[in-house]
């Protein structure tokens, strides 16, 4: 039971970040590695505001607002100009990675390289079905679960969700219908920033944060996207949860240091047996990327 709970909690964080990646990738086609820098920045902004003596609600709101603004700047200053120039997907990825490297180095030079915690006191624990659960894990489960369900509900019941799905399905046709693609691209980046900031703050509250934690976590999220299905908004959530369970099981059976090896072994297994992921649709050969 403890493994299932640990897996669920770890999986929810991965699922959130996988969805943050997918919400940009599907509508815009941009491989948003810069997401890693949004993930890194959030807790540093939170703790900087916290030092001014503000309440946690205000700290979280300001941190999320700053991260969403950075996400929008990523689109306005980097990806939109590259798209206008007709740049390749590789150029988007490399420039996004370049900005990530730049931001991480600025953070390291400003706040140092050490692992930090969002709160100094020890977590309170609860006993549930023979398992031990920390209060931070309860907060993570409730908040991440609500956010993921809320996002899926938005996607399937609101006009914005319909527009995002339409943009993801066929951007050219979407533009021909007279919709402003640039606006919806901005919204996609903003939503990605929101999901990344909450995932980061919840994880930082639970286990702490470090300037170099962004890229490995985003890589994990991309593995979840590949496993779950690259053409679906729902697939990455399932992929994230599956990865969470597997990684918790590896910690239990072997050691935490073998988590990465097992993660990429699963990725290899999926690439060889089901390369389009769990929730995939059949594609024509010329569509395969």
């Amino acid at each position: 039971m403890q493994i299932i709970i640990n897996g669920l909690i770890a999986g929810l964080a991965v699922a959130q970040l996988a969805l943050a990646f997918q919400v940009v990738y599907l509508p815009t086609g941009v491989f948003f590695v810069g997401l890693a820098s949004l993930y890194v920045v959030a807790p540093y902004i939170y703790s900087a505001v916290q030092r001014l003596g503000m309440a946690w609600q205000l700290c979280a709101t300001i941190s999320i607002a700053v991260v969403v603004s950075i996400a929008l700047l990523f689109e306005i200053l980097n990806h939109a100009p590259l798209t206008r120039k007709g740049a390749s997907g590789g150029a988007h990825l490399i420039s996004s990675l370049g900005i990530y490297i730049l931001l991480v180095q600025v953070i390291t030079m400003t706040w140092g390289n050490n692992t930090m915690a969002l709160r100094p006191e020890v977590h309170a624990v609860y006993h549930f079905a023979g398992s031990v659960v920390a209060d931070s894990q309860v907060i993570m489960t409730v908040a991440a679960g609500a956010l993921l369900l809320g996002f899926l509900a938005m996607l399937h019941t609101t006009a914005l969700g319909l527009h995002l799905r339409a943009l993801a399905d066929n951007p050219t046709q979407f533009a021909l219908y007279g919709y402003n693609v640039s606006t919806f691209r901005l919204i996609a980046f903003g939503l990605s920033g929101l999901l990344a900031a909450t995932a980061s703050l919840l994880t930082a509250y639970d286990i702490g944060y470090t300037p170099n934690g962004g890229l490995p976590t985003v890589l994990l999220a991309v593995v979840a996207v590949i496993i779950g299905g690259r053409t679906s908004f729902f697939g990455p959530i399932i992929g994230g949860l599956l990865l969470g369970f597997v990684r918790a099981e590896v910690v239990w059976q072997f050691s935490a240091r073998w988590q990465e090896a097992f993660t990429y072994a699963i990725l290899a297994l999926f690439l060889l047996s089901r390369p389009r992921g769990i929730f995939s649709r059949t594609t024509r050969i010329e569509e395969i990327d």
Partner: protein
């Protein structure tokens, strides 16, 4: 003079790395971050064989190159089914996997080179002997520079002949349109396996020279920063010819040394260097995606 020789040896090593990466990025159109992992395969294999097995430089290098070529399957098999961004991310995963192995394959008390302590973890492998050729041990840095330059020139010659061969033209055709290439009856899967094996073998050779020169290897030689540095060399210098990677290797080997003259604090020098690489990548993608001296604009 000793300092200049040291820099030139590093330039030779990175020139081999950039030329091997050029085969992938510039000719096969496969952008990869896993090169640092294969560089370390060469360095670790050479270190283990020479320190534990007592092998000479030629058999140790040969085994290192063969192992790296075989392990390139870890990246060439996914390349059959993944292209573009997802292939790049798989290469990043392979790099992370390699780093994880080098960092974790250790056990306190177990002898170095045994199954439970193959890499000595974060402490790395020390006291790697200098190479000996025809009974002459290369301990003098000047002699080592001649040795490294000869290997680099040999690699450049092989790359030059490969790019001018029918095989090289087939690579370019696959880069331009893989579907059309397959339609003409060409086996692009085999071509990818061959290219990645060859490129990994070259970079492993660079790894063996590095291990032999530094006398020490640890997991940082396969870190993500190294992978980014290697890719920056070809993206900044340009790909699709022999000139671009050499220009990139020269610039990015010289740049950290220029920082010394700007008197940045030692603690922040590596951060500033990495921040500069990041900025350079962004600027190149926006202003000159084909690199300073390249023929091919990355797709």
């Amino acid at each position: 003079m000793g300092y200049l020789i040291h820099l030139l040896i590093y330039f030779d090593i990175y020139a081999i790395v950039a030329l091997s990466l050029n085969l992938l990025v510039g000719y096969a159109g496969l952008l990869t971050f896993a090169h640092a992992g294969y560089f370390a395969v060469g360095a670790y294999t050479y270190a283990l064989l020479s320190v534990v097995g007592g092998f000479g430089v030629r058999p140790a290098s040969l085994v290192a190159v063969l192992i790296a070529a075989f392990l390139s399957l870890a990246i060439s098999l996914p390349s059959w089914r993944l292209k573009g961004d997802f292939f790049i991310l798989v290469s990043l995963s392979v790099q992370t996997f390699f780093f994880s192995l080098y960092y974790n394959w250790t056990k306190a008390g177990a002898p170095l080179g045994s199954w439970s302590n193959l890499t000595n973890g974060p402490f790395g492998i020390t006291n790697i002997p200098k190479p000996a050729i025809l009974g002459f041990r290369i301990t003098d840095p000047g002699h080592f520079l001649v040795f490294a330059t000869c290997i680099a020139l040999l690699c450049a010659f092989v790359c030059w002949r490969l790019q001018a061969s029918p095989w090289g033209r087939l690579l370019i055709s696959m880069r331009e349109d893989e579907l059309a290439c397959r339609g003409l009856g060409k086996n692009t899967r085999l071509l990818k396996v061959q290219t990645l094996a060859l490129s990994s073998a070259f970079v492993a050779m660079a790894g063996t020279i590095y291990a032999a020169y530094a006398g020490y290897v640890d997991p940082t030689s396969s870190s993500l920063e190294e992978g980014i540095l290697m890719l920056s060399m070809v993206l900044v210098g340009g790909v699709g010819n022999l000139r671009g990677p050499i220009v990139g290797a020269l610039l990015l080997t010289a740049f950290p040394e220029m920082l010394r003259f700007l008197h940045f604090p030692d603690a922040q020098a590596s951060n500033i260097r990495l921040a500069f690489y990041g900025l350079l990548l962004v600027l190149m993608m926006h202003l000159r995606p084909q690199g300073l001296s390249g023929n091919y604009r990355m797709k």
